[in-house]
């Protein structure tokens, strides 16, 4: 969060700033990423694991949306700066979701592998984004809480099949054990469309 510009950016009055205007070249991408999904599936935990390497088992309800950013370096010596909107999963915020996903280059849709309801909710979000999101949005389907194997109620195959049908990338993660968290974001980074070299 260190952009120390002392003057307000005239073009900045949009949530979609990072992906919509310049400020990026072929080597250093800056992308807007939004996390969507039912309340309690672990969206904030995934982000905090990715950005700060932390896991807090006491659940803290997100209100509105939190904003965090993290930069990763890829093997081809490019960097990707993710500007992440971690949205609240509560029903009352559903109507406000476009505020956060508008202009997003990436949507990460999260469900909890122990909760079939959260899987249906994820499908709702996929449909919503297909209708109203950016046409070239990169979508990832994430089954979180993969460490709770004995409580699993959504089969891996269900996730894989649904993701394939909808042209998404699928992964199961555990924010608690950190399993597949970095892999998730690295895979997203690889799938991003590269801007033409100017």
């Amino acid at each position: 969060m260190g952009c120390g510009s002392s003057l307000p950016d005239r073009d900045s009055r949009q949530l979609g700033r990072p992906s919509e205007n310049g400020g990026q070249d072929a080597k250093n991408l800056r992308v807007k990423l939004v996390l969507l999904g039912d309340s309690g599936v672990g969206k904030s935990c995934i982000v905090l694991r990715f950005v700060r390497g932390q896991f807090d088992p006491t659940s803290k309800v997100t209100v509105g949306a939190s904003f965090l950013s993290q930069t990763i370096a890829l093997q081809d010596s490019t960097t990707v700066k993710f500007e992440i909107w971690d949205t609240a999963g509560q029903e009352r915020y559903a109507a406000l979701a476009p505020l956060y996903y508008r202009g997003a280059a990436v949507a990460v849709i999260v469900y909890d592998i122990t909760s079939p309801e959260s899987f249906s909710k994820a499908q709702f979000w996929v449909k919503e984004l297909q209708k109203h999101g950016s046409p070239d949005i990169v979508m990832a389907l994430v089954g979180n809480k993969a460490d709770l194997l004995e409580k699993r109620e959504v089969a891996v195959q269900d996730g894989t099949e649904y993701a394939e049908k909808n042209g998404m990338f699928f992964i199961e993660t555990s924010a608690k054990t950190a399993d597949n968290i970095n892999e998730l974001f690295e895979e997203i980074a690889k799938r991003l469309p590269r801007p033409a070299v100017s």
Partner: protein, 554 residues
């Protein structure tokens, strides 16, 4: 026992009739005539004394210290008070550290109206829909309370069918207070002996908090479907409501309809105000810099004014939401007194555990602009040491009654003169010695009517446990209600003595003063002391209030 000075001015309808007396007016001549109190040559002879094991004199535990230090048994112990009758001799609670006595969040979710423990709780709050569907209950699981909610709804609609409105039902020690807000019904069942007006005010605030989260347009859901279930819309907000209800027993703002400022040097507050004004010019509706529940500085755009109740509800919403502390956030909020029908958008950022900035706009796409504003503000605050001054003020606290200067005095005084930080170990305290300040002064609240602000003295011995603080708070609340009861007339002063305190209240056009003294305090001395308090407040008003142009319009 009550003390009377002019028996012809008794109030009616109060079981403990307040007595009016003729207080000398606060005039310069009075101060001139007043020799310095010989027993208190420098106003600091009486040092605070309290148990050294509880180093806090910085107020009630509602300021939420580290909650991790609270054991479950302590929490249970505090909750226990809500069931038990308050008794002065109940010493078991005195061991509670006033820092860590309250954890946010809903409790006793396993209870329902069949549980004995649920029935014994001293103060219930319910919110239900006009079709009788539960929306919120302070204790117990809403869904299990469907039958109980239906009963409450039946009572309300039975009276409404007779073209009337039920406001209050008394049943023995219990009061049942009703508030109807369109399709939403609010009910309080209490045996805390709080005045009806206070309880009703609390229901108004609970309703306001709901509007903060959902706006009044939630009513449309009921128009479409009278059986609409509102609970999912409030998902995850238990903390917000439990924290608000908790504040009814520690935060004077809930009945004073005023806000309070963090004590700061005038120049420091000016520096904070200047940078807020700077960003205010760029399309920010309200810019509010806070430390916990206290204002550091705030600005509203032209013609936009922020009601103290809106501020209370907004601050409660932000302070009780953990996710705002994790990272910067952008959230819709509604200010009921500003516009109950529409959301504003709040950019919220915590600079540290205590100090945070709220920037409100009408634009849902203003995040990056507000983020830039915050970066500019943060740079200035760091450069001008405002944030470190804030931390220092937190440690030092505000007005300590032990520092009450004598009258008359010359020169200006500063809050921090002759005083060690309240948490410093050098500040020696003798246990078991209940003295307080001059003439047995224990505590006071001063509310400036013109500024919409109040200042409350720090709690010190003997008001140093959460339980004693809550009792004093309730006494003030009662006093406030009796002074503002329109049916009784404009009270100017009130002197009330009971087994716990001498309470003195003084209302003028400019201010209201509420002061608590030792129950054995001398009346004439108490009155003199009140004059000294008022003078003291005036002397340091630069530091304890946000002055200048009315903060709400510039």
């Amino acid at each position: 026992m009550s003390e009377m000075s002019s028996p012809d001015t008794l109030c009616d309808s109060d079981p403990d009739p307040p007595i009016r007396l003729d207080l000398p007016p606060l005039s310069a001549s009075l101060f001139d005539a007043e020799p310095p109190d010989p027993q208190q040559p420098n106003g600091s002879a009486l040092r605070p004394s309290s148990d050294p094991s509880s180093p806090s004199s910085s107020g009630y535990a509602g300021e939420r210290g580290s909650s991790t230090a609270t054991s479950v048994s302590q929490v249970e112990e505090v909750l226990h008070h809500e069931i038990e009758e308050i008794s002065i001799h109940d010493s078991q609670s005195l061991s509670i550290d006033s820092h860590a006595s309250w954890l946010p969040g809903k409790r006793h979710n396993d209870e329902d109206d069949a549980s004995i423990s649920w029935r014994k709780r001293k103060k219930h709050f319910f919110v239900l829909s006009h079709s009788g569907k539960p929306i919120y209950s302070r204790y117990g699981d809403e869904h299990k309370l469907a039958g109980f909610s239906a009963t409450l709804q039946a009572i309300i609609s039975f009276v409404e069918n007779g073209s009337d409105r039920v406001k209050l039902v008394r049943a023995g020690k219990h009061q049942v207070v009703f508030l109807v807000k369109g399709p939403i019904y609010l009910v309080c069942i209490s045996c805390t002996e709080e005045p009806y007006k206070s309880l009703r005010g609390q229901l108004e605030l609970i309703y306001g908090q709901m509007i903060v989260i959902l706006t009044k347009s939630v009513n449309r859901c009921f128009e479409k479907n009278p059986k609409f279930d509102m609970t999912p819309l409030l998902g995850g907000t238990d903390f917000v409501f439990s924290s608000l209800i908790h504040s009814f027993s520690w935060n004077p703002a809930t009945f004073l309809h005023a806000y309070t400022c963090l004590p700061l040097a005038y120049a420091t507050r000016q520096a904070a105000g200047a940078i807020l004004q700077d960003v205010g010019d760029s399309g920010v509706l309200f810019a509010i810099l806070m430390c916990r529940h206290k204002v550091i500085s705030l600005l509203g755009a032209q013609k936009a004014s922020l009601h103290p109740d809106d501020m209370l509800l907004l601050v409660n919403f932000v302070m009780s939401t953990e996710s705002f502390r994790t990272s910067e956030a952008f959230s819709p909020v509604c200010l009921p007194r500003y516009n109950p029908l529409a959301f504003l958008y709040a950019y919220i950022h915590f600079f540290d555990n205590d100090t945070y900035l709220m920037l409100l706009t009408t634009g849902s796409d203003a995040f990056y602009h507000l983020k830039d504003c915050r970066i500019r503000i943060e740079t200035v605050l760091l450069k001008s040491n405002v944030l470190s001054e804030v931390q220092r003020s937190l440690l030092d606290g505000g007005m300590h009654i032990e520092d009450l200067p004598p009258l008359p005095r010359s020169g200006s005084s500063h809050l921090s003169q002759h005083r060690l930080p309240s948490d410093s170990p050098e500040r020696l305290r003798e246990p078991n010695c209940a003295v307080g300040g001059a003439a047995g002064l224990w505590h006071f609240i001063y509310r400036s009517i013109y500024l919409d602000q109040y200042v409350s003295s720090e709690f010190s011995s003997p008001i140093n446990t959460p339980k004693q603080q809550k009792r004093l708070y309730r006494a003030y609340q009662k006093l406030f209600a009796s002074m503002h009861d329109k049916g009784v007339g404009p009270h100017k002063t009130q002197f009330r003595r009971d087994e716990n305190y001498v309470l003195l209240c003084w209302v003028t056009q400019d201010f209201e003063l509420y002061a608590a003294f030792d129950p054995l305090a001398d009346k004439a001395l108490a009155i003199k002391t009140c004059n000294r308090v008022c003078q003291w407040v005036k002397d340091v008003e630069n530091e304890i209030f946000l002055l200048g142009a009315s903060p709400f319009s510039w």
